[in-house]
Symmetry: D2
Subunit: 373 residues, 4 copies
Amino acid sequence: MPGNTFGHALRITTAGESHGPANVAILDGVPPGVPLAVEDLLVDLDRRRPGQSRIVTQRKESDTPQILSGVFEGVTTGTALAILIPNEDQRSRDYDEIKNLYRPGHADFTFDAKYGVRDYRGGGRSSARETNVRVAAGAVAKKILHHACGARVVGYVIQVGDIRANIPAPADVTLDAVEKLFDGSPNIVRCPDQAAAARMIELIDQVRKQQDSIGGVAEVVATGIPAGLGEPVFDKLKADLAKALLSLPAVMAFEYGAGFAVATSRGSENNDVFEPGDAGGAVRTRTNRHGGMLGGISSGMPIILRAAVKPTSSLPLEQQTVSSSGDAATIRTKGRHDPCLLPRFVPMAEAMVALVLADHLLRWKGQGALTPK
Amino acid sequence: MPGNTFGHALRITTAGESHGPANVAILDGVPPGVPLAVEDLLVDLDRRRPGQSRIVTQRKESDTPQILSGVFEGVTTGTALAILIPNEDQRSRDYDEIKNLYRPGHADFTFDAKYGVRDYRGGGRSSARETNVRVAAGAVAKKILHHACGARVVGYVIQVGDIRANIPAPADVTLDAVEKLFDGSPNIVRCPDQAAAARMIELIDQVRKQQDSIGGVAEVVATGIPAGLGEPVFDKLKADLAKALLSLPAVMAFEYGAGFAVATSRGSENNDVFEPGDAGGAVRTRTNRHGGMLGGISSGMPIILRAAVKPTSSLPLEQQTVSSSGDAATIRTKGRHDPCLLPRFVPMAEAMVALVLADHLLRWKGQGALTPK
Amino acid sequence: MPGNTFGHALRITTAGESHGPANVAILDGVPPGVPLAVEDLLVDLDRRRPGQSRIVTQRKESDTPQILSGVFEGVTTGTALAILIPNEDQRSRDYDEIKNLYRPGHADFTFDAKYGVRDYRGGGRSSARETNVRVAAGAVAKKILHHACGARVVGYVIQVGDIRANIPAPADVTLDAVEKLFDGSPNIVRCPDQAAAARMIELIDQVRKQQDSIGGVAEVVATGIPAGLGEPVFDKLKADLAKALLSLPAVMAFEYGAGFAVATSRGSENNDVFEPGDAGGAVRTRTNRHGGMLGGISSGMPIILRAAVKPTSSLPLEQQTVSSSGDAATIRTKGRHDPCLLPRFVPMAEAMVALVLADHLLRWKGQGALTPK
Amino acid sequence: MPGNTFGHALRITTAGESHGPANVAILDGVPPGVPLAVEDLLVDLDRRRPGQSRIVTQRKESDTPQILSGVFEGVTTGTALAILIPNEDQRSRDYDEIKNLYRPGHADFTFDAKYGVRDYRGGGRSSARETNVRVAAGAVAKKILHHACGARVVGYVIQVGDIRANIPAPADVTLDAVEKLFDGSPNIVRCPDQAAAARMIELIDQVRKQQDSIGGVAEVVATGIPAGLGEPVFDKLKADLAKALLSLPAVMAFEYGAGFAVATSRGSENNDVFEPGDAGGAVRTRTNRHGGMLGGISSGMPIILRAAVKPTSSLPLEQQTVSSSGDAATIRTKGRHDPCLLPRFVPMAEAMVALVLADHLLRWKGQGALTPK
C-alpha cells in the first residue's frame, strides 16, 4: 500500500513535488455544516510560508490555496475537499548540477534505491514543500475541532541549539503569544519565552552567516479535547500523534507529557493523582505528567507533545558525498534554505496534530455507545 | 474505525482481555512458503513471560500458543494465521475491590470515559497482557525478515533510572549477548553492558522492596534491512516505527539515530557523509546519526531506535484517587506487578519493530518497479 | 494488502481452514453496551449448519461458538470480539487421493497458481466452512442494527433451477415464514412461497439422486434502515453490498431493486415517484424499483437484494480434469456435499448484508453533522 | 470512514462536483518507470466526453486533463499522481428552480437525508461528472496492466432496451471493433454487433424524441490477466469487481461468466473442465462459464463481466415528486441529459475494471512468495 494517505474518519491524501505545477490535498470526511472559506487557510499558510522573515529560506512562494470542492455557500457539504496550491518559484536550474549527486542528509539516495528513478528538482516529492497542503488541511481540522468542542491546538519553539525556553504553563500559551512580541512586532522564531526568543534569533543569525544550520525542539499543546479519544490497542492517540509528527520531514524524536524523563522517575512520583473535578465537572488529575493521555486515550487534560527537528541538511558549505554511479564527489547545495527549520515547523506540527485529533474525534463519534431507538 | 488492526501488507488484528479465556491474533499477509512451527514462537514468548525472574511480575502464565490456521505441512500457506494464547492465571478476585476506583496512571478512567462500561479485571483490554499475541506474531515477522533478506531485529535495555549502559556498537549486539551473562547465566535485565546490568538489577531490587517502580529506556536495532523501505509521505518508515512503539503500553517517547540530540547539533556535524560501498557494494554512510533512515526510507545502514518506558503505575503503596462516582478515595493495587517493565518490554519492542519492517518489506515488494513482460 | 478483513467502522477479520482446528473471527468496532450472549449466535449458526436436513450436506458439525473477548457481564464493552468455532468432523482421508488433482469449478488450481502451496484438505481456506464465523459475526451485526434502529435483515430462497417463487411483498416476509411451513414443520429449503418450496425440495431430491447439483437465487430484504447510509463515491451502499455478497463462495451475480430488468425499461416507468410521508413522517417513494438506495445511499425504503448461486461444484460423478503436474486425469469428489447450496446460503447472505449495514450505520454516525458545543 | 478512496496497492481518491471549478483524482501506488504522458489519458476521456454524438448529452466539456505530479521526464516516478480536469460548462442557472425539489431517481433526497445540506447544481457530488477523473486514472491502470503483462480491458454495449447483441467471442472483441463501424465511421453506441448497433441507435433516437430514456447492459472483458489475482476471503477478485462496477452511477446489477444463468444449471453442465495447456503452457479450461475467476482468484482465462445500467433518471417530461419541505410538487429536469447512458458508460466501466485488476496485480506482487536471499 502506498503512503500518501493519512487518517481514517478524517482522511488526507496528498500529491505534488517541489518543482511541479502544484501540490494537492484531498481531505475526505469533513462533516457537513462547518463554516469554511479559503481565508481560513491563510493564517497558517502564512506562518509556514517561505520568505516570511530573515531567519527562514528566502524562496518566494505566496502559497495561495484554492478550494476546488466540498464547500458550497460558505459551509462544508460532507463531500471531499480538494485543496490546490500552485508552485510559483520553480528555479529548477539550481538543481541541475546536483542531479547525479546524493546530498548528505537528504532522501536522494533512498529515493533512488527505492524507485530507481527520481525527480531531482528540489528534492521532488521528498521536499518539505509538500507540507503546504498539510498545513491547509490542518487549518480545516482546527475548524472542525473548534466547531465541535471548542478545542484549540497551539505550537511553539522551545529549543534552538542549546537555548531552551522556559514555558511554565504550556496550556496557557496563546497563538498571539507565539506570533507576537510584547511590542506587537512579529515573533519570528515563534518562541513565547521572549528572552529565549531573542537569543535563539541571534544563534540562527550566527549559523546562517556561517553557512551552517541548527536543530531544535517544538512543543504542541491541545486544549479542550474531551476524554475518550484514541482507539486501543494499536491506534492509541499517542501512537497516531507520534506517527503524525514523525511523518514530517526532519523530525527525529517524539515525546509526550514527561517523555524521556520517565526513564529516571519512580511510579510513586510519576503517577498523576486523580481528583474530583469542579462542581458538576469531570474527573481531572492534579498534575499532567501523562500529557493528557492514559492507556492511549485522552484524559481531558491538556495534550502536550514535543518533537525534535534536525538541522537543515542542505548546506552551502562543501560536503563530501558520492554520485549516483557510486563515485566519491563533493557537493554544495546552492538552493535557498532555512538556517533553522523550527519557526516554519510550528504550523506543520500543529496541522498534523489537529488532523489526528479531528480524525479521532470523528472515530469516537462513530464508535461510541449507540442511542437505542 | 476501531483500532485493533495494524499494518497493511502484513496486518495483525488482535483481541482479548487480561482475565478472559484467551488472547488471539490474526496475522494476515504472511507470504506462502515460509517454514514455521509453533516452537518458533516460544523463544520470544518466554522472554516476555511473567514470572521469568525475580525482577518481573510473579504472575504465573505459561503463554503456550496455538497456531490455528495458515500453516500446513510445516510451511505457511499464504492464508491468514490465527494464533491463540489461553489465559491460565485469572485471579479476578484481586480486582473486585478496585472496580469502582480509578487507578492512577492506568486507563481505568479513560476507558470509562470512552465506552461507559469497562472490564475492570486486571485492566481488561488495557492490560499489557494483550502484548503476548503481538510477541507471537512478531516472531513470525522475524522469520519473514530472515527468510527474505537475512535481516534480524535485536533489542535490549540501555537505561534503568539513572543507570545508563554503554553500547559502543549497537549493530553488533547479538541476542545471546542480551540474554546471557559471560558465565552463561540468564541476563535477567537484558542489558548487554554487564556492568550496567548488575547495577540495574540492584536498583530494581531496591525499588521493589520499597513497593515502588522505576522507568527506563530500551534500544532496538535492525540489521540487514535493504535500502528502500518506507512509503512517502505519511507512511515513512520512521513514522510507522514510532507509531508501533508508542502503541505499546507505558511508552512515552521515541527517537531514532541521533534523536533528541539533533536539537543541539549543526548541519555540518549532523549530516552523515556518503561514501562508496565495498567493491560491488551499495552506497553507505560513514556515520549513522540518521539511524538508518533518510527521508523516511531505509538507507541500508542499521536501523536504531529507542523508546522510553514509564515506571509501572500499579503500586502496592497507598495512592490518592477518585471513584467512578467522582468521590475522593485511596487505593492500593494488590495484583502482582513488575517493579520495572523494561526486561519484559524488550521482546515486545522487537516484535513491533519486526512487524513494521516485514510489512514495509512486502509493501515495497508490491509497489516497486514492474518487470515488463 | 491481504484480503481477510472486511468493513471499516465495524470490521471483521477471519482465519481458518476446512480441516484445521478452528475458524476464528475478530469483530472490531462493536459499540459498547449492546446486550450479547453466546446464545445470540446460535440461531443463525443452526440455520447454516451442515446436516440440518436431507437436502444439505451430511457432514457433522455442531458449530458451537465461543466468545473469547469483548463481552463482560452480558454487554459488549467496545473492545474487539473474538469468536472461535472448533472444527469437529475432520475426515481428511476423503481428500488424500485428490490432493494432486484440480477439482473442476473449485479453487484448487487458482490457489496453486497464487500461492504455490495449498492445504488440499477439503479445500482448505477456499472451503465454505470459513463462512461459519461470518454468520456468527453477522448475528452480532443484526443485534447492533436492531439495538440502534429496530432494523432487521431477512433472506430467503426465491429460485431453484427453473422453479421461481412468487413473493408479492418482500418487506413483509418474516423469519418465521422463512423457517417454518404452515403446519409448523421446518421449511428446509427456506422459500416462503410454500407451493414453490415443495417443488424446489422435489427438484433438489431429484438432482441429489442423480449425483448432480442445482443452482438458484436468494433474496435478502432489510427493513427499518434509516435514510442516509452509504458513502459516495466509491463506498456506495449498493457497491459494498455487492462486494459483500460476491465475497461469498459460489455467488456469480448480484442485483438490487429492479436489477437487470432496468435494461429494458424506460426512465418514465423506472423512476420511483416521491410522495410525502405520513403525518410527521419522512419522504417516501410510491414504488421501490430503486431497492431502497438512490445515489448509493439508503432512501429509507426497504433494501432489496438478490444473489445467484451456482450449483455445487463438488460432484460424485466422474469429471475430466488435469493434475497439478499438468496431465489429463479424471476425478470423483467423494466428500459429503450439498446438492443445492441455497438453503444454507440464506444465513450467510443475511450475515454479510447485516455486517455491511451495521458498518455503514456506524460510519454515518461518525461522519454525520457535528453537534456544535 | 468516508468513501472517496478506492483500492489498496493502487489507490484512487477523488473529489469534485458537477458545477465546481474542477474534478481531481490522486492515484497513489503507480509503480515507477511506467511511460506516461497526458495524451495517454485522452482516448478514454474522449470516449466518455459529453457531446460526442447525437445520442448522448449535448453538454459541452472538453475534459482536458492536467497531470500535476508523479511523472518526470516521461515516466512515472513511483510518487502519487494528481490528475485535474477543469469544469468548463457550468450553467448553474438550469438548476435554480429545482433546488428545493427532489428529482425522482436521483440522489437529491438521500444526500439531504445524509448531510442536511446539498450542492444542488447538477447533482453536485452525485453527478456522473465525477467519473471523468476515474476514466483518466483508469487509463493509467490500463498502462500498468499492459506494461506488466500485456493485458487489455475492453468494454462494449450488449443490450439497449429489448435489443440484445450477439457477441460469439467476447475475448476477441477489439477496441477498434467497439469504436468503429465497418465503413470506418464512429460506432456511436459502442456495440460491436453492427446489426444490433443500428437498431440500438434507432431505439435511442426514438426515446430521445419521446423525451424519455432507456436502459441497457454493458459487457467488459479483460484478457492477458495471469492466474493468481484476488485475495481470499473478502477481497475476492469477483467481489472487488462487483463493487467497482456498482460504485458507478446508475448500475443496478452485476454478473460474471454465466451469471444469473447459473440458477437454472446443474453442476455437471456448469463446471468448466480443466485441460492441459499448450506445450509449456498453463492449465486452462475448455469452457469459460466461470468468467475467468475460481474461488475469487483469476484463472488465466478471460475475465468476463456484465453490468446493467438504468435509464437516465433526468427527464424533460413532467414528473410528480415532493419538495424538500415535504410537499407534493411536479418537476421537469431541464438540463441536457443522455437518452441512454450506455455509450458513455463503456469507458467508465473499463476504467473501474482496470483499476481493480491493476490493484490486485500489485497486491499479488507484494503478497506472493518471497525469493529467499
